[in-house]
């Protein structure tokens, strides 16, 4: 390890600061959505896929996820149900969760371009690879169930 004598702050690579900023702000946005979503959900119980007044009983009875969705909501509408039920309380909350759970995808796409413009092609490729893994996982086409 080598230590320089003059404590001059090293400049952070652009890709790194960009990644940090995107993740930070999207996480905060996702958090705010998840604060508001349950209020809409409780205010209009019929405007939900899962009625919140019946949901917690089912969860605390130890029922598995599929049974909870089936008994309280009729059927599980799929992980991306917020796309069709955006104005629903739980649809809006699910959107907040999905946004937060996909934050690395959006940040890594931008990071890949930052690496490409800096001619760091190895990390351009690796960033795209990880972004592709997130995207494939989101789409669910490689699931085993």
């Amino acid at each position: 390890m080598s230590a320089e004598e003059t404590p001059k702050m090293p400049q952070m690579p652009r890709a790194q600061t960009v990644y940090g900023s995107i993740v930070y702000w999207i996480t905060i946005l996702s958090c705010i959505i998840c604060m508001i979503g349950p209020v809409i959900s409780v205010a209009k119980p019929d405007n939900n896929v899962l009625n919140p007044y019946k949901l917690f009983n089912a969860i605390f009875e130890g029922k598995d996820a599929q049974t909870v969705w089936k008994e309280v909501g009729g059927e599980f509408p799929g992980g991306h149900f917020y796309l069709k039920n955006f104005s629903y309380g739980d649809g809006f909350t699910q959107f907040g969760l999905a946004l937060g759970c996909s934050v690395a995808l959006w940040a890594l796409i931008v990071v890949a371009f930052a690496y490409a413009s800096d001619k760091i092609y190895l990390y351009f490729g690796l960033a795209l690879w990880v972004a592709a893994l997130v995207a494939l996982s989101m789409i669910g086409i490689v699931g085993t169930h």
Partner: protein, 364 residues
């Protein structure tokens, strides 16, 4: 006063304001709601939503002080002491672990302590492991029923016990690892990146080695994290530090960033099969983000090493709960009487109190 209107306080204040308005609105709405037959009362709903947020917030705060990730506390306790289905708990546990990592990403990236190249390199492997682990968890839940639930609790109990012992004895970590030989693959990756080390008032550049080996280790860590819904900082930090020679502080910062990035891959199988129930998971997410941010802003300088002993005590107690519940589900033992739980709690916390007294005396 002015700093309250500047980042990061500005966004923290906005979030606090939205949070207060939300919970007041929730109280007003649920307070006036009529309870349908078979449904939960409005007051109870408010209590659960606030309780989840408060617990998550507290976990995030003590995690900052104690240096033990929130996921390691959430999943074992929920599995040991609540009747909630294990897949729902593990899925929500992954949200807890992931968001505690995501919220620390911004400051670590901006400050330069974390290294994005190392994180992307490790995430390429961690994500594969976490995804496979999550798929495995779903398969076990779908095909092994009650027996699978019992085995999951037993396995997690054993892992948690090993972890608590590991946290207690410290494990092998080196603050500034020495690198004697850099292999060709690691050199080709150009992973190292200088950063300003405040405690030394110096810019530190660190050589790295054995990057190929770390990939294999990180896949295994990802599998565990994805399967059990645990945060995996406890394994990612030593893997980077001991194998790859990443300085301890950088490895710790990288682990948060990596958890946030890699669990974006591992969490989706749970979301797509409905194990993450939005209104149940949302307060846990909010608590992690707000608690993590406030903890980092206010409590990071608090020297409270004793909190670590408290957390380890809780881990041992959760471990006892997991083992007995797992054995009960497998039909090996009957229900554990309340007095025995109480006795074990007392014994563990007598030990914790003793350790805290010893620790405080050694510090003074």
């Amino acid at each position: 006063m002015g700093k309250l209107f500047k980042s990061p306080w500005l966004e923290v204040n906005v979030m606090l304001l939205v949070l207060i308005i939300s919970y007041v609105a929730l109280a007003l709405i649920t307070g006036s709601a009529e309870t349908e037959p078979g449904a939960m009362s409005g007051g109870a709903i408010w209590g659960w939503l606030f309780g989840f947020f408060f617990l998550s917030f507290a976990i995030a705060l003590v995690a900052v002080i104690g240096g033990i990730g929130g996921g390691v506390l959430f999943t074992p306790f929920m599995l040991a002491f609540t009747p909630v289905d294990s897949l729902i708990v593990r899925a929500t546990g992954l949200i807890v672990a992931m968001f505690s990592g995501l919220v620390s990403t911004g400051p670590f990236m901006k400050g330069g302590l974390a290294n994005l190249k190392i994180c992307i390199f490790c995430a390429a492997a961690y994500g594969v492991g976490a995804f496979a682990g999550a798929q495995g968890a779903i398969l076990v839940a779908q095909h092994l029923g009650e027996t699978g639930e019992g085995f999951v609790r037993l396995a997690l109990g054993v892992i948690l016990c090993s972890l608590a012992v590991y946290f207690l004895v410290g494990g092998k970590k080196i603050e500034w690892p020495e690198v004697k030989k850099i292999d060709g693959f690691t050199k080709w990756l150009k992973l190292s990146q200088p950063y300003y080390e405040v405690s030394l008032n110096k810019v530190i550049d660190y050589p790295l080695t054995r990057a190929g080996w770390v990939l294999a280790a990180i896949i295994g860590v990802g599998l565990l994290s994805g399967f059990f819904g645990l945060g995996a900082g406890w394994a990612i930090v030593p893997a980077q530090n001991v194998i790859m020679a990443v300085p301890l502080k950088v490895a710790a910062a990288n682990s948060g960033v990596l958890l946030g990035m890699g669990d974006c891959i591992g969490v989706w199988p749970y979301l797509l099969m409905g194990a993450i129930i939005p209104v149940f998971a949302a307060p846990w997410l909010v608590g992690q983000v707000l608690g993590g941010l406030l903890g980092a802003l206010i409590l990071i300088r608090v020297k409270a090493g004793f909190v670590r002993y408290l957390l380890i005590g809780f881990m041992f107690f959760a471990c006892f709960g997991l083992l007995t519940k797992g054995l009960g589900m497998l039909g090996v033992i009957g229900a554990v009487p309340v007095w025995l739980n109480g006795l074990v709690f007392l014994v563990i916390f007598a030990g914790v109190t003793r350790s805290i007294i010893k620790f405080t005396r050694s510090k003074s």
